[in-house]
């Protein structure tokens, strides 16, 4: 099986869907031939599919999202890109009031088959306006599905599922995983939404996390294995729908849960997961659920500060050991 980067796998998924279905098109700032997307995800696609189907837009986030809504309800399958997740602040009305609610408030008359791709996360020293992780806002918005692929294999299968879904899908990526490599089949495959991926099986503690933190959790699991601590690592892959089953079964086995994301702590997706697990597996918990997140601050610029901000393997390992 070919090994490729997350970026390449994502591009391959987009390309396959564009070949399969001529209603699929991409729109966003600098997605076209002059740039290929700020993170080069769409590079080459404008050359292959033309400027109409890989459409550069003005810097108009709310109208990009809204245009995707209008196109989606009238027969197209837009994949809109918001260049940085931090900028989705400008598109919240179209995403959360229109895309998410339209089917419901019109009593099922329409469906809104669109994908909005954007990218979260720090680690690139680009400070408060280009480094946030805002997925929790959308998890709290009924009507949106949310994919959070962390691996090359997942991103290809999930983008294809996202594009085919008749509902609005928020497709969140992470800056520091674009270059991560993995084996990715060349042939077509779809990954259903709502199925977690268990990266490591273990008996002592369950670690659930997203994006770069999954990679770190795996490293921690491998490390702790040497110390005789057996850690199960779960990546939900989609937040809505959420695979509660895999998580709850794991917690019922281990009795211990650590939640790890790069979000600022208060109100993060980890809060919801903690609430669910204590609700549904209360009697199995042998220790409090521990959350490992970024502190409640904006994302700082300087490397020393940003490294402190982003949870590292040491903090994850410590959290695991704290409840053993």
């Amino acid at each position: 099986m070919p090994v490729m980067t997350y970026r390449e796998a994502l591009r391959q998924g987009l390309r396959e869907e564009m070949l399969r279905d001529e209603r699929v098109f991409i729109m966003g700032e600098d997605v076209g031939k002059n740039w290929g997307g700020a993170f080069k995800v769409t590079k080459g696609l404008a050359e292959e599919f033309g400027d109409e189907r890989v459409r550069d837009t003005p810097i108009s986030e709310n109208t990009i999202a809204g245009a995707a809504v209008g196109a989606a309800i009238t027969g197209m399958r837009p994949v809109a890109e918001i260049m940085f997740g931090d900028l989705i602040t400008l598109a919240m009305d179209q995403v959360c009031n229109q895309a998410a609610k339209m089917r419901y408030m019109f009593g099922g008359q329409t469906s809104v088959p669109l994908v909005i791709r954007t990218v979260f996360g720090g680690g690139k020293n680009i400070a408060s306006h280009h480094s946030q992780s805002l997925e929790a806002w959308f998890m709290h918005t009924p009507g949106l599905k949310i994919a959070v692929p962390a691996f090359a294999y997942d991103v290809k299968g999930l983008i294809k599922t996202a594009i085919r879904d008749p509902n609005p899908v928020m497709f969140f990526e992470h800056k520091l995983v674009y270059d991560k490599k993995e084996e990715v089949p060349d042939e077509e495959y779809l990954i259903p939404f709502g199925e977690a991926r268990v990266h490591r099986e273990g008996d002592d503690v369950t670690v659930w996390g997203t994006f770069l933190m999954v990679h770190k959790a795996i490293a921690v699991a491998d490390q702790l294995a040497k110390e005789g601590i057996s850690v199960e690592v779960i990546d939900p892959r989609t937040l809505v729908p959420l695979d509660k089953k895999t998580l709850l079964e794991s917690v019922k086995k281990t009795g211990r849960l650590v939640l790890v994301t790069e979000e600022t702590k208060t109100g993060a997706t980890t809060a919801e997961i903690a609430a669910i697990v204590q609700e549904e597996a209360f009697d199995w918990l042998d220790a409090p659920i521990v959350r490992v997140n970024a502190p409640d601050t904006p994302v700082p610029f300087s490397p020393t500060l940003e490294q402190f901000f982003i949870p590292d393997e040491k903090r994850i390992a410590k959290a695991v050991k704290s409840i053993l």
Binding site: G70, I73, N97, R103, F106, Q109, T110, F193
Partner: protein
């Protein structure tokens, strides 16, 4: 208001314009009645006084063309051909409503007659219209999109974004500003440095026109021109329709903030009377025919109200339906 109908407008179209204008009037008057009887929950933004805008615009559209509506949407959707029964039932929050009672006044929508949606967020329809027009263009349907919005909406960020995007991509959109001089209680003079909104379209190289929004024929003629441009790949047009609300902004607003002379002037220019007179003077309609049309419409509206009143409320658990569309396995 001696507007001479141009030769381009045939008599049938005049009857059509009269009928559409009157239909909205009767529907909205009934709505006003019903909420007086406490049958309509929530709030309402009536279209009374602005009927000529929706009538004139929609009369220039095909069924497969789209409109994008607003919080003041009843008139738009009725004019575009929505079923009055289902529309009325929606306002009453009944299961038989076009949105199954989930949307109500501010989201009154009938998708299958070409209504993209009514939205409670001022100016949020413009980006959606851009997308629908882009879709028409990409799919090669030759359909066009007419997007309604208010003077107040023109101050929101999406206005500039959407006008611009429609211009650079030469999209088949007709931007219809219903300038009724107020956004809630705020006179346009407080929030807009110019007398007209239309001049903002020049900034985006979009052809624009100011018309008497109480005159359905004027609105219609401007729209025909805009639709022609749009269908032929000439891109967007903005039409500013000067008009006025007959009532307050919403259900409980007596609109005392409007100067007496201003209100008197506008209320003397009744859109129904204006198009009726035009049609009769043009020989398109006799008084008697006009009355016959009114009777017929009154009956339809009455039936709609009856249907709505007799329909059931949704069962509570229906609140859980329609969030997501099922994914085919």
């Amino acid at each position: 208001m001696a507007v001479e109908p141009k030769m381009t407008v045939d008599k049938k179209k005049l009857v059509d314009l009269y009928t559409r204008t009157l239909k909205i009037r009767l529907f909205e008057s009934k709505v006003w009645d019903l909420f007086g009887q406490n049958l309509i929950p929530g709030t309402l933004h009536l279209y009374l006084g602005q009927e000529a805008v929706a009538a004139g615009v929609t009369a220039a559209l095909k069924k497969t063309d789209w409109i994008q509506s607003t919080h003041r949407g009843h008139g738009h959707v009725i004019a575009k051909g929505a079923d009055m029964k289902r529309a009325m039932a929606e306002l009453l929050g009944k299961r038989t409503g076009s949105c199954k009672g989930k949307g109500g006044s501010m989201h009154i929508t009938q998708f299958d007659v070409g209504v993209l949606g009514a939205t409670g967020v001022v100016a949020s329809g413009l980006p959606i219209a851009v997308g629908a027009a882009l879709s028409c263009k990409m799919r090669g349907t030759k359909d066009v999109v007419a997007c309604f919005f208010g003077d107040g909406a023109s101050n929101n960020g999406t206005f500039g974004e959407s006008l611009n995007m429609s211009a650079i991509w030469k999209l088949p959109v007709i931007w219809v500003v219903e300038n009724n001089l107020y956004a809630m209680g705020t006179p346009i003079a407080w929030t807009c440095p110019s007398e007209n909104i239309a001049q903002r379209a020049d900034g985006y190289c979009i052809p624009n026109k100011i018309v008497d929004g109480n005159n359905a024929l004027e609105v219609y003629e401007a729209t025909v021109e805009a639709v022609e441009r749009a269908r032929n790949g000439g891109g967007p047009t903005l039409i500013e329709c000067k008009t006025y609300r007959m009532k307050g902004h919403s259900r409980f607003d007596p609109a005392k903030y409007r100067p007496k002379e201003e209100a008197e002037y506008w209320l003397s220019r009744d859109p129904v009377e204006i198009i009726r007179k035009i049609a009769i003077e043009a020989g398109a309609l006799t008084e008697k025919e006009a009355d016959k049309i009114r009777k017929k419409l009154e009956k339809e509206v009455e039936e709609a109200a009856k249907f709505a009143i007799e329909s059931e409320y949704p069962a509570p658990e229906e609140a859980l339906e329609d969030v997501f569309m099922e994914v085919d396995a």
